[in-house]
Each structure stands twice: as structure tokens, then as C-alpha cells.
């Protein structure tokens, strides 16, 4: 909509206006800073949701393995519930329904983190449950024999080991959350996909821009899984395996 005087586009700043390149490339270069800002939004949403999901999911997993039968039943229903509802439906119900009914004014960004976090807590609880169940049963008995209470044994013996074992599961969860976060655009969260769409409708360069968005997602996935792999190696106890 008309170039604005004084503000140079990223493209002209880099190459100058006399260098001719295909329209598609110019559109991508011009959009890149804006899209990368969006990837920060995406990352904050994903990391926030993972942290929130972890804070809820870890106790749920412990409860599901060691808890009272009634508690176990409740957690099973919880997991079924949050794994069963499509993300978009849940986002709409929470944002338009629950927030208005309770008259709390949460921003779309906050709702995105909460909803993704709740769904992630259900998945993360199962990652943890698997990790806890893969530990030999004798460990808990041995801890008890040493005089530890159940709570202490779980917190100091089971939990740290299960945490290490869940890291590979986490990288799965991270890459799924990363892509799920694109759906939050429906509420107006300005993450990568929303921004790609905005630029594409202005410039009519849909394919090159979606291609660029795909590359950004690939890089983010690589960075995240690499970081978790490093964490896995860092937290491994040399020469020790639970089995």
C-alpha cells in the first residue's frame, strides 16, 4: 500500500533498490524480520505451555501410578478428556465460553498458553507414567527398606530417574506443540502462521512465504530437539542405567 518515505524495506537495505531479484524472493526477505518476531511469540507460547504442562503432568503421572484407586480413575478421565477434544474446539470454548462465563479477561496469548498447557499436561503425564513404569519395582521397595517414606522415595528415587527417561518423549511433545501453536491464530495470537498469512494476503506471494514459514518451523524443531538431546546427555549419569 504505497512505500512510505523514509522507511527502507529490509530488502533495499541489504541489496539496494537497483539489484533486481524475483518478486517472490523480495517478498520473503522483506517479511523475514516480521516472521522471526512471530517465531519468538511461537516459542514463548510453546515453552510456556510445556512448563505449564510439566507442572501439571508430573504430579498426575505420579498419582496415576501410585495414587488411590479413586484418584487414578479421576486422572484417567482427565487424560481422556484433554486428549480427546480437538485443540481448536477447546480454544474456542475456553476463550469465548469459559472466560466470558466467569467474567475473567484473559488475553488470547495467555489463553493459548493455558489451553496448550492443559492439553500438553495430559500427554506429558503419559510420558512420565511410561518412564516411572519402566523403572524396576525393586527400587521403591529398597528405598522403603532404607526407611524412606513413600513420598520421599518417589520424590528422591523415582522422580529424578523418570525425569531423565522422559526427555526423549519431551522432544516429541515439543515438536507437536510447536506445530499445534499455529492453531492459536484463530484467537488472534500473532505467531508465525498468522503473520505469514498477513504478508501473503498483502503481497499475493503465498507459496514463497509458506515455504519460508515451513523452513522457520524446521529450524525451530531442530533447535528444540537438539537442546533436549544436550539436556539428555548432560543429565545422564555415566555408566548408570536403571536396568
Amino acid at each position: 500500500m504505497g512505500t512510505r518515505c523514509g522507511i527502507m524495506s529490509p530488502y533495499s537495505r541489504l541489496f539496494g533498490d537497483h539489484v533486481r531479484m524475483p518478486e517472490s524472493l523480495i517478498a520473503v526477505i522483506d517479511a523475514l524480520p516480521y516472521l522471526l518476531q512471530g517465531s519468538m511469540v511461537t516459542l514463548v507460547v510453546v515453552v510456556g505451555a510445556m512448563a505449564f504442562g510439566f507442572a501439571l503432568g508430573a504430579p498426575l503421572a505420579v498419582g496415576q501410578v501410585y495414587g488411590h484407586p479413586a484418584l487414578r480413575r479421576f486422572i484417567t478421565i482427565y487424560v481422556w478428556f484433554f486428549r480427546g477434544i480437538p485443540l481448536l474446539v477447546f480454544l474456542f470454548l475456553f476463550y469465548f465460553g469459559l472466560c466470558s462465563a466467569l467474567d475473567i479477561n484473559l488475553s488470547a496469548f495467555t489463553v493459548a498458553i493455558i489451553v496448550l498447557g492443559l492439553i500438553s499436561s495430559a500427554y506429558q503425564s503419559q510420558i512420565f507414567r511410561g518412564a516411572i513404569l519402566s523403572l524396576p519395582e525393586g527400587q521403591l521397595k529398597a528405598a522403603r527398606a532404607l526407611g524412606m517414606s513413600d513420598f520421599k522415595a518417589i520424590l528422591f528415587i523415582i522422580f529424578p530417574q523418570a525425569l531423565r527417561l522422559s526427555i526423549p518423549g519431551w522432544s516429541n511433545e515439543y515438536s507437536i506443540l510447536l506445530k499445534d501453536s499455529a492453531v492459536t491464530y484463530a484467537l488472534g495470537v500473532a505467531e508465525i502462521m498468522a503473520r505469514t498469512h498477513f504478508v501473503a494476503t498483502r503481497t499475493y506471494q503465498h507459496l514463497p512465504l509458506y515455504f519460508a514459514a515451513g523452513v522457520i518451523f524446521l529450524v525451530l524443531t531442530w533447535v528444540g530437539t537438539k537442546a533436549l538431546r544436550l539436556l539428555e546427555e548432560k543429565t545422564r549419569i555415566p555408566g548408570y542405567s536403571p536396568h
Binding site: M1, I7, A51, F96, C99, A108, L187, H197, F198, T201
Partner: protein, 253 residues
């Protein structure tokens, strides 16, 4: 030690989460304008990522004149009226047609723009809108728009026509499929159609029988005070020289 470090990380992450949540809630109260940023030239996002467009600049002027603060929030068109009713946004100044059905849900400002509904086809197409809308053809439209509803009710259901109506997320995506040849034409408002014709090998084929519509700003029913303020500002804007300037910058280009 290791254990402590892990809990430290968890603690920091939760603190960050809470912090971000409180930041989001502590924002100063300003009127939020929900826009469909996929609707150039009325509302879109400029190169540096700021909301721009005919409606955005109009409302900015009105806000300055009537002394209120406004922020433009890009969002999905499908959720725009629910958002308004749920008080997530306070106004929709984003090329919304005034219809009786929408009037049941929200109030509208005085109208500020007349639009025609047109069909857009390939640049080299030698067909009239009637020829495009024959049985078996595919016609594209943006989901949730007045034209989508009108075509479905009047041409398909009552009119007995048997072309296929393909619903898109936005009008530019429908244009994309016109260029690809997946659909023969796309129905949309004339202003975005002109915008598309400047950027893509497409042209306006003509109208398809839908009556002209008026654009207005949508405001919540219980916000009568705000509606009055906006109407007063809009009246001033349309009399000011800035109005012609806006038209020149965004529409007639």
C-alpha cells in the same frame, strides 16, 4: 545438586509463565478494534508488521478526534463477532457489511462505504459472470461473508443452480486458486477485487446480481455511548479533507 538444578529450571519457567500472564492482564484499557488483516485494502498488516488500511487509518483519525485510545487487533474473521460479544474486542472496523442478521447480534455505525459484489476470473478469461456460474463449475468465496451466504441461499438453494461453492479462509486464497485454475472465478467485494487485479493476473468479470451493500463499524449492543462517539467522529471524518486522501491512498490507487 542435580535435583536442585532441575527444580530451579522448573521454578524459573513457572515464574516466567506467571509473569507473562500478569503482563498480558495489566495492559491499559484501550478500545480494541478487531480486524481481519487478510482484507486489503481495508485492513491488512504493513511491511513492518503494523495494522494498516483504509478502516484502520479511519478509526485512528476518529479516535484522535474524539479523544479515545484505540488498538488494532488482527484476528480470524470467523471469530470476530463472538469476540465482540465476549468483550474481547470493542469494535470491528474492518470492512463489515451491514446486514439484518448481524444487526440482531451487534449495533452498526452509520455506513461509510458502498460496495458491489463482483466475480473475479483469470485475466485472459472471456466469460461473463453468468457463463462462469453454470452448473458443474467451481466458484470460490470467503467463508462467513455475506456473499457466501447470499450465493448459497439465492443462487444454489432457491435459484436451483448447480455450480459448486468452494469456501476459503480469505479472499486472497480464493484468488490464488483462480490463478491456479482450480476454480473458474471467486466472488468478493469490489475493493479487494481491484487490489487483487493489481497484484495478480486476474480481472473483474462483473457483478452477479447481489444488491449493493454498505460497510459499517460493528459495536456491542450495550455500548451505546461508544457508538454515539464513533458516529460523531465518523461524521466529522467524512467531511474532512483526510477522507478524500484516504480514498486516494487506499482505494483508487
Amino acid at each position: 545438586m542435580r535435583r536442585k538444578r532441575i527444580w530451579g529450571v522448573v521454578l524459573v519457567l513457572s515464574a516466567l509463565l506467571i509473569l507473562s500472564a500478569t503482563f498480558a492482564m495489566a495492559e491499559e484499557k484501550v478500545y480494541i478494534n478487531g480486524i481481519d488483516a487478510n482484507f486489503p485494502p481495508f485492513a491488512f498488516v504493513d511491511k513492518s508488521g503494523n495494522p494498516d488500511g483504509f478502516d484502520v487509518k479511519s478509526l485512528d483519525w476518529i479516535a484522535k478526534e474524539m479523544k479515545f485510545k484505540v488498538k488494532h487487533q488482527p484476528m480470524d474473521w470467523d471469530g470476530i463477532i463472538p469476540s465482540l460479544k465476549a468483550k474481547k474486542i470493542d469494535i470491528v472496523a474492518s470492512g463489515m457489511s451491514i446486514t439484518d442478521e448481524r444487526k440482531k447480534e451487534v449495533n452498526f455505525s452509520t455506513s461509510y462505504w458502498k460496495i458491489k459484489q463482483v466475480l473475479v476470473g483469470k485475466k485472459d478469461a472471456k466469460i461473463t459472470p453468468e457463463q462462469a456460474m453454470i452448473d458443474g463449475n467451481k466458484i470460490g468465496v470467503q467463508r462467513g461473508t455475506t456473499e457466501a451466504k447470499w450465493i448459497d441461499e439465492n443462487l444454489l438453494k432457491k435459484g436451483g443452480k448447480k455450480f459448486e461453492l468452494i469456501q476459503y479462509d480469505s479472499a486472497p486464497l480464493a484468488i490464488e486458486d483462480v490463478v491456479n485454475g482450480r476454480i473458474i472465478a471467486a466472488a468478493m467485494d469490489d475493493a479487494p477485487a481491484l487490489d487483487a487485479a493489481k497484484k495478480k493476473p486476474v480481472k473483474i468479470l462483473g457483478g452477479f446480481g447481489m444488491a449493493d451493500e454498505q460497510f459499517g463499524y460493528a459495536i456491542r449492543k450495550d455500548d451505546a455511548e461508544f457508538l454515539k462517539k464513533v458516529n460523531e467522529g465518523l461524521k466529522k471524518l467524512m467531511k474532512s479533507p483526510y477522507w478524500a486522501e484516504l480514498k486516494k491512498t487506499y482505494i483508487d490507487k
